[in-house]
């Protein structure tokens, strides 16, 4: 039997082909991160008192802060660099609706591998988003192109950690979408708090008391902070390498929880027969 990784890559390739079949959606997925940042930058500009014809140094610094946080994790509207776990969930949801999920689960491979394969597709898309945003950053904020190699290592490991964390969460979100017919509730209580409490476009210390406490145990916040530090030299939470360690620890926990939850849900579905009910 082929290794699970090879099978997962094969599933990812299939997902790519299927997504290309939805041509307009695919184009939007590929470009959404660029469209998504536009209103945020425009609001930043206005709040800083600048206009498109007149951008000063303070505005540029504010915009860089927001841009780096967005590139690392922020999801807004439909431009979603955190689409790995939402993508895995919606991917599963779509397979449930088209009826192909059962057919996949009939193959003699781990069912986690099938879900992980969908995650790989979205992880690649996410990596593409981060990369293209950073290329854009080099033009909009030339200082980001002049960072030391050590900083690049921090940014790279932080981004990879966020990918791993998202994939781990993706297993749980896919499980929830299998279990709950309308899994948006899970996205509401997991996805959106993660999005909000990541401090991607604001300072975490401005959050009201209890929310700030929750944000400080959210590993995403540390990944975003490390990424931002790498390109701007400004971090607000911990030592960047410690932050990278926190992200990876979070990723490990998310992966373990995800594997267990997905396994239990698939087993439950096998008992209730709900796999084919949409």
């Amino acid at each position: 039997m082929s290794s699970n990784l090879a099978i997962a890559m094969h599933v990812a390739k299939k997902e790519l082909r299927v997504q290309i079949g939805y041509r307009n959606k695919f184009i939007a997925d590929v470009l959404s991160h660029v469209i998504g940042i536009v209103p945020i930058l425009l609001i930043t500009l206005a709040l800083s008192g600048s206009s498109l014809n007149d951008i000063d140094g303070i505005t540029r610094a504010n915009a860089l802060f927001v841009f780096l946080g967005y590139a690392a994790f922020m999801a807004f509207g439909f431009g979603t660099p955190i689409m790995i776990y939402t993508g895995m969930a919606w991917g599963i949801s779509e397979e449930l609706q088209t009826g192909t999920i059962e057919r996949n689960f009939l193959a003699p491979v781990s069912r986690h591998t099938i879900v992980a394969g969908i995650g790989i597709y979205y992880a690649c898309l996410y990596a593409f988003h981060v990369t293209t945003l950073m290329i854009l950053a080099f033009f909009l904020f030339p200082s980001t192109a002049e960072i030391p190699v050590g900083n690049l290592a921090v940014a790279g490991t932080a981004a990879l950690g966020l990918i791993a964390l998202s994939a781990g969460l993706g297993l749980s979100s896919a499980a929830m979408f299998l279990m709950i017919r309308d899994g948006s509730l899970f996205l509401l209580f997991v996805h959106r708090p993660f999005m909000i409490l990541s401090g991607a476009i604001f300072l975490i210390e401005l959050l009201p008391g209890p929310l700030k406490l929750i944000a400080l145990v959210n590993p995403v916040a540390y990944g975003v902070d490390a990424f931002r530090w790498a390109f701007s030299g400004h971090g607000t939470l911990e030592d960047p390498w410690l932050e990278v360690g926190i992200v990876w620890a979070g990723a490990l926990v998310a992966a373990i929880v995800g594997v267990i939850v997905l396994g239990r849900v698939i087993r439950r579905q096998s008992r209730t027969g709900e796999l084919s009910r949409i």
């Binding site: 939805y22 041509r23 307009n24 959606k25 939007a28 997925d29 469209i35 536009v38 209103p39 945020i40 425009l42 609001i43 930043t44 500009l45 206005a46 709040l47 800083s48 008192g49 600048s50 206009s51 498109l52 014809n53 303070i58 504010n62 802060f65 927001v66 922020m74 807004f76 509207g77 439909f78 609706q97 709950i180 017919r181 309308d182 899994g183 948006s184 509730l185 996205l187 509401l188 959106r192 999005m195 909000i196 991607a200 476009i201 604001f202 300072l203 401005l206 959050l207 009201p208 929310l211």
Partner: protein, 261 residues
């Protein structure tokens, strides 16, 4: 409504949409302006408002929640197609446009509630400091919804035309409302030609009257001109929406794509 009542999480999700989508932007405002408003001057000069949290929260909450109208109505067509009931419905309906109107009525019954919940929940993380002229605010809200459904009908026609219309519809509404109509910023930051484009969009006017009536206590009498412009623009969208729906429906009947999705 019966179909949606089976999706309990949808109700909870929609109730919290205003908070979850707008809160990060309000907090971003706090980050840029400063916790005590120490860097408020330039923004105040540009927008004419001191209350930046309300400036962001009120129109953005409307924008994100009314955005759901576009997906709601369009998705109704798509899900009727998927379940195979669209053709059956169109046989039963005397006026096919009732399909959209019915979806709109079901949606609007929830929407006003969601907007109130959204603005109230945002006040938990930021001092919105609303200063509302209620008659003007109600007229603004109703005219905004009038514009929203006109635009929704236009976009929903895409579902009879393009198979993966949802994302096209979302892209258009995303590009028009938060970007071109200036849901979260004064259009004064645009160059002149883009400001002219922005003023041709009814939502730009809707956001203006909402801010004026809910943040600056501006009465109806002072917003009369804006209301008339908004009403006329929205009516044009309804006419275009009605026409487009019928055109795309005829096209779908001609090409036999009514049941395809």
């Amino acid at each position: 409504m019966l179909v949606q009542s089976r999706a309990r999480s949808w109700f909870i999700t929609a109730s919290s949409t205003g908070f979850f989508f707008v809160a990060p932007l309000v907090l971003m405002g706090k980050t840029i302006i400063g916790e005590k408003g120490e860097r408020l001057g330039p923004f105040s000069e540009l927008s004419g408002y001191d209350n930046y949290t309300g400036y962001l929260a009120v129109p953005l909450c409307f924008a994100f929640l009314t955005n759901s109208a576009y997906s709601w109505i369009g998705q109704r067509i798509r899900s009727e197609q998927q379940s195979g009931t669209l053709e059956r419905l169109l046989i039963s309906l005397k006026y096919p446009i009732s399909l959209l109107l019915g979806g709109a009525w079901a949606h609007i019954s929830f929407l006003l509630f969601f907007i109130v919940v959204g603005i109230a929940s945002l006040s938990l993380i930021a001092d919105l400091d609303l200063n509302i002229d209620w008659p003007a605010a109600i007229v603004s809200g109703l005219l905004h919804l009038y514009a929203v459904y006109g635009f929704a009908f236009i976009l929903s026609s895409l579902f009879l035309w393009i198979r993966d219309a949802f994302i096209v519809q979302q892209s258009i509404s995303y590009f028009v409302i938060p970007i071109l109509a200036g849901a979260g910023f004064p259009i004064a930051i645009f160059p002149g030609w883009l400001q002219a484009v922005s003023k041709a969009i009814p939502f730009t006017w809707a956001f203006d009257v909402e801010r004026a009536s809910m943040l600056a206590h501006t009465p109806v009498s002072e917003l009369w001109d804006e209301f008339v412009i908004l009403f006329v623009m929205s009516s044009v969208m309804w006419i275009i929406g009605y026409w487009m729906f019928n055109v795309t429906l005829k096209r779908a009947k001609r090409t036999g794509s009514l049941g395809l999705y």
